[in-house]
């Protein structure tokens, strides 16, 4: 059974990674998951300097999903390079680093700092809905997206994956803008902006009022957008949004994803990422699929 997949010239031993922000730096999940068994570990968004994030409450549960407004709290790129990358290397994990920023120079500083690090892919988060000017402007305006992609590509030593926001009218327009800016791959979807009101307190549940919705409730949106983007643009896709099981991952791959990230499922079950991988293998055995690449975008 062949599980290897290739994204922008980088080969991963299998198509399962973790969705940024749901798996910490990987170390937090070590008691449950052998990090080297995953296709890659995708780490929490990291900026040039530490970010405090939003006030609490930062989390709310919704039917079949959740809202978060963490606000990209992170320890900054220095600590990340000193502590988190060496740890992942020691654990033999392939590494995808999620990068966030407020301005283009912020992003470039992080990308440059990472140039000598053993990182497989850079995932540029231009789509966090929880931070004012936290990249969302880049993710919702095709011209701005093209520009930041081009600037990042100028300094990046690793392949660049642009992470797209679903909070747009036409996702294919954004995909094409990233392509025009020189992106090597795309990842989608980030969370969908939502809101929850506590009707007894007559107040918002989240201190930030709005939050990003994730979890199984958003999977159909992810499947649709992955399909649309694959049809509109030739770049490889890392798909995410509501993956709980191997079957969910297969569905995103059939829509067009070459690799799949497991996110919110990690909160329900810390072993979810590895169980998704097991589920993919079981599906392949059952359906007599020799090579996982057969199913990538197999649905016309």
């Amino acid at each position: 059974m062949k599980l290897e997949v290739t994204i922008a010239g980088k080969t991963f031993k299998n198509p399962v990674t973790t969705a940024s922000g749901t798996f910490g730096s990987g170390a937090e999940f070590e008691e449950f998951v052998d990090l080297s068994a995953l296709g890659a570990v995708t780490t929490k968004g990291v900026a040039n300097v530490p970010w405090e994030g939003n006030p609490t409450p930062r989390l709310a549960e919704t039917y079949g999903g959740m809202l978060n407004a963490i606000g990209l709290q992170n320890p900054g790129i220095d600590v990340f390079c000193k502590r988190d990358i060496p740890h992942l290397v020691e654990k033999n994990a392939s590494i995808i680093v999620n990068v966030c920023g407020r301005t283009i120079p912020d992003y470039l500083e992080v990308v440059e700092r990472l140039s000598d690090e053993p990182v497989d892919l850079l995932e540029i988060n231009v789509s966090c809905p929880n931070v004012k000017a936290g990249g969302i402007a880049f993710g919702q305006n095709p011209q701005a997206l093209l520009e930041i992609t081009r600037e990042v590509k100028k300094v990046a030593k690793q392949p660049v994956v642009m992470k797209l926001s679903p909070n747009v009218t036409d996702i294919t327009e954004m995909a094409k803008a990233a392509e025009a800016g020189g992106a090597d791959a795309l990842s989608l979807i980030n969370t969908i902006t939502g809101m929850k009101i506590d009707i007894y307190r007559r107040d918002f549940v989240l201190a930030n009022k709005t939050g990003g919705m994730s979890g199984p409730a958003i999977k159909p949106v992810a499947v649709r957008m992955i399909y649309q983007v694959r049809k509109a643009c030739p770049l490889p896709i890392i798909g995410m949004g509501g993956v709980m099981t191997g079957q969910d991952a297969v569905e995103l791959m059939m829509a067009g994803a070459s690799m799949v990230s497991v996110g919110t499922a990690n909160f329900h079950n810390p072993r979810a990422s590895i169980e998704v991988l097991e589920g993919i293998k079981a599906f392949m055995a059952d359906q007599k699929i020799e090579d996982i690449r057969e199913i990538i975008g197999c649905v016309e």
């Binding site: 937090e28 994030g53 989390l59 549960e61 978060n68 909160f267 329900h268």
Partner: protein
């Protein structure tokens, strides 16, 4: 492994008080590791409710291989748990968090409302001179069990038992003394105790609450503000699930 996630069977459950349930689950590996002040994450069998419900450990029984929890029905998740009977099972993860640091100094153990249960195992295990102070709205629960462990005084908002007022009123009324305060309860109570401790130069260990997703320090959903930079997050935020839930009151910035 220091954190166990598994399906656990309910050994027994009773309603202590309208809306307050006393549940014991079979969780031998968890019990062997558990300390007072730690908590478990309980997962709903209804999977449209994805996130764990953090519930404090109220009792640890290594002979029976069980953990006891006492919780209030606050919403759909705890309502689901409250309908469980002996023999039913649910996913649990734990023990989680740091727990109380148990020294040998004279202790004042304070619980308020649904913050009362986690103090019971502490009262049992703490090997020091100790006084327990419990605050309730009106009717009391677990009171007899505390009385078996230590001298226990009570405050109720309506004056139906003990002192009328707050736990601080009870501390003053009964001249409760000690060097370390251990406390769990509503935020205003913890804030008042922190001030009380500061004024008198006492140590105060307080147990905090916040909404959680991962329960293991990864998602940064459950933070509290801290005076100093946190060694893990490198900002002035600590993770309640991992760095807490018990904090030295001096380190916390109260909301």
């Amino acid at each position: 492994m220091s954190i166990i996630k598994q399906k656990a069977q309910v050994l027994r459950q009773t309603e202590l008080e309208p809306g307050i349930y006393d549940m014991t689950i079979s969780f031998p590996e968890g019990a062997a590791l558990a300390k007072p002040g730690q908590f478990l994450c309980l997962y709903c069998n209804n999977e449209t409710r994805l996130l764990p419900r953090p519930i404090s450990i109220c009792g640890i029984d290594n002979e029976e291989g069980s953990i006891r929890m006492v919780y209030r029905v606050a919403g759909a998740g705890t309502e689901e748990f409250s309908r469980m009977k002996a023999g039913d099972s649910l996913e649990v993860m734990g023990p989680l968090g740091n727990g109380f640091a148990m020294g040998g100094e004279d202790a004042i153990i304070v619980g308020g409302g649904i913050g009362v249960p986690p103090m019971l195992e502490l009262a049992r295990q703490l090997d020091a001179r100790k006084t327990v102070v419990l605050g309730y709205r009106s009717s009391t629960f677990l009171l007899d069990e505390f009385k078996k462990e230590a001298e226990t005084v009570v405050a109720t908002e309506d004056g139906s038992s003990g002192v009328r007022g707050t736990v601080l009123d009870a501390i003053r009324e009964y001249s409760v003394e000690g060097k370390v305060i251990y406390a769990c309860g509503p935020m205003p109570m913890l804030r008042a105790l922190a001030e009380y401790a500061k004024d008198r130069g006492l140590e105060a260990q307080i147990s905090l609450e916040e909404r959680m997703a991962c329960g293991i320090g990864a998602c940064l959903g459950c933070i509290c503000k801290t005076k100093e930079m946190n060694h893990h997050t490198h900002v002035n935020n600590a993770r309640i699930c991992k760095d807490g839930p018990v904090f030295d009151a001096k380190e916390v910035v109260f909301p």
